[in-house]
Symmetry: C2
Subunit: 392 residues, 2 copies
């Protein structure tokens, strides 16, 4: 049957994710390719208690339709937390609840991008963003991502010459590199954008996961009217609830709200209430600290193993937080070959390729260190080292 699909469907990059999900359920394979937070830190009992409370006290309301903007007490919690942790003043009516920060990617693209409109992002940049934006058929411009943020000369050039509708970036523990923008970079970015009409879309999925427990002030603090800031409970509480949020100036948020209403009316109200109850009765700081400490240990272990067990020419980033690092393979080694031989050798990695909008990533692989314990990391890295050594 020759169905007449929209042109945008040809713009969807071939997705690795299907293959990766299949891999992730094969018990013989140790997967560093996914992006799951550690299941060990999901507070099942605490969330069960919160859920019981919501069903007992306000079940009927929690199970009924609700408003598009999201549950007010949850937005108030997010607002207070920004004020306390980051000194940011973001009132609840500049916050909208969404289905995890992935939904922000779709809806921000939807409200800003006409076909062929310029949009800019980091090179390499988050593949989920590339997938979401691609369906709006934009023209992509990318800016090299160094060890401390985007290259500022290139950034300035892209903003001035291409005037992208927005620049999408992950200043805290970027995906895929794991690197964090320095404060100098944040200030330089704000300076370039001031007076432009490019919005900075600041994805802060990992800001709670700095190994040193120290929060980093977002770019939103520097150029609030020019910045959209998104966050998520997926990495610190539970991804299965699909609850994230977006903060944006009112004029942007009212367009976003219109798109959200058309997309799915509102996010799961039951889970918004459960989460709100949980956050009111649990210490998120303490919880995030425990997770970050564990991820920091995992990350150091993985870096040490890359340094010690892999052939000369292997390099890697040095994350201060988050869930990923990016390893560069020895000269001439192709990431797709490592991916394929890895699967045969019982270990999955994610080639850098899907993180590039205009080619690249053939010499890098993204490794996830959040989803397993140190024994499994050792075993997996041992398998990977064997594969890489055999290919060199």
């Amino acid at each position: 049957m020759p169905y007449r699909f929209a042109d945008r469907m040809h713009c969807a990059p071939p997705s690795f994710l299907g293959k990766l999900f299949a891999v992730s359920t094969d018990p013989r394979i140790i997967s560093f390719a996914g992006g799951l937070p550690s299941s060990a830190f999901i507070d099942v009992e605490g969330l069960a208690d919160a859920s019981r409370h919501v069903f007992d006290e306000e079940g009927r309301e929690a199970l009924q339709y609700s408003t598009t903007d999201g549950y007010l007490p949850l937005r108030e919690f997010i607002s207070r937390r920004y004020a306390r942790r980051l000194g940011l003043s973001i009132p609840p009516d500049e916050i909208q609840i969404v289905n995890g920060s992935q939904q922000c990617l779709d809806l921000v693209a939807k409200i800003f991008l006409n076909r062929a409109d310029p949009v800019a992002m980091e090179r390499p940049g988050y593949l989920g963003a590339i997938e979401a934006f691609s369906l709006y058929e934009p023209s992509f411009h990318d800016v090299a991502f160094g060890t401390d943020g985007p290259d500022i000369d290139e950034f300035r050039h892209v903003i001035r010459e291409c005037s992208p509708k927005f620049f999408y970036g992950i200043p805290n523990s970027q995906n895929p590199s794991g690197q964090t923008y320095t404060y100098e970079k944040r200030r330089a970015i704000a300076e370039v954008l001031e007076g432009s009409d490019t919005v900075f879309y600041e994805d802060d999925a990992f800001g709670e996961l700095f190994f040193d427990g120290r929060p980093r002030r977002p770019i939103k603090a520097l150029i609030p009217d020019l910045c959209i800031l998104s966050g998520s409970f997926s990495k610190v509480i539970a991804p299965g609830m699909r609850i994230g949020w977006i903060c944006a100036p009112k004029e942007i948020l009212s367009q976003f709200n219109c798109a959200k209403q058309a997309a799915d009316l509102h996010s799961n109200f039951l889970c918004q209430k459960v989460l709100s109850r949980y956050l009111a009765t649990h210490d998120l700081d303490e919880h995030a600290r425990r997770i970050s400490t564990a991820y920091g240990q995992n990350c150091r272990l993985m870096c040490d193993l890359l340094d010690d067990q892999f052939p000369a020419g292997t390099a890697h980033t040095h994350p201060e937080g988050g869930m990923f690092l990016l390893a560069t393979l020895p000269d001439g080694l192709d990431s797709m070959r490592v991916f394929e031989e890895g699967l045969k050798g019982g270990v999955a990695v994610l080639p850098g390729i899907p993180f590039y909008v205009s080619g690249g990533g053939n010499s890098t692989i993204r490794l996830n260190f959040s989803s397993m314990d140190d024994e499994r990391i050792k075993e997996g890295m041992d398998r990977l080292a064997r594969v890489v050594r055999a290919l060199v």
Copy 2:
């Protein structure tokens, strides 16, 4: 700040829904304008039990990321129910879970519609669909909806001359009219579409709510390869969980899955599991029967009151199921005036206007009969009758 939004945002029709939500929280106003199922039939205890079970038995998994297609046991339940109730053979891998059927509207439009592409629907047609489709900037074609389905001559003309990418319709208890397509209409539609390349998008949000308890065979049974069928648990279980589904031929579903992944990765996994557990341990037939019986009584009451208390020239549809009826006002009476005067008189109705893509609806109002008991219906209709009599 002059933000550069996409052109599509100008295509969004002015939404009544914000105003209506505000109205729905004002205790002085009796609202027939919304679309809430009765809170009285939400089985809070049953869902609380199911939730407890999921947290106890598989909480950690339910709270983690999952696959885009949705929880397999839930899709298997939907598949079995189609087979048993409707004799439809829809395997679980032709079913995808979404955030309520509203998300289908967004994603079906996304995978099919280029800017200016033709799309067709009923006149009047569901306003949520108009809102969702509008953001893809299509050209709308509408087909008059009579008392028993779309006008077939007009339908044939639109399909042949305009070749819409898809025709969107609600054969069971249509929104806003409450009317149901006859079997003759369904067969005639299938005949027109056969050999065309227009897909029939069959929204079946209300198929479980026939007052006589008798299911109606969908158009999907007649032209399975040319039909997308969507359903929802919102009307019979709980809207706050935001769980619906779409059934489509594999080739369409794989595009839909790609769009769903880019939109929000997957629907709330916790609620998918809770719902699946609930459905495995409760009798949905029995539950739907109780709801339908109550809605049938409400509908008959409302029709009787329209017949008895309203001025000559008032008419109304005769729903066999669902949650809405459409009333036609006496000659010359404007639905916006009734809306505004109604609010002053303590009763909210929804003017027909937002249900038309090319003008109309000035003489009709949609009335919801699902969300309140008979005492409140009597009081609200009494207020409305007074408003209408005063305006005539």
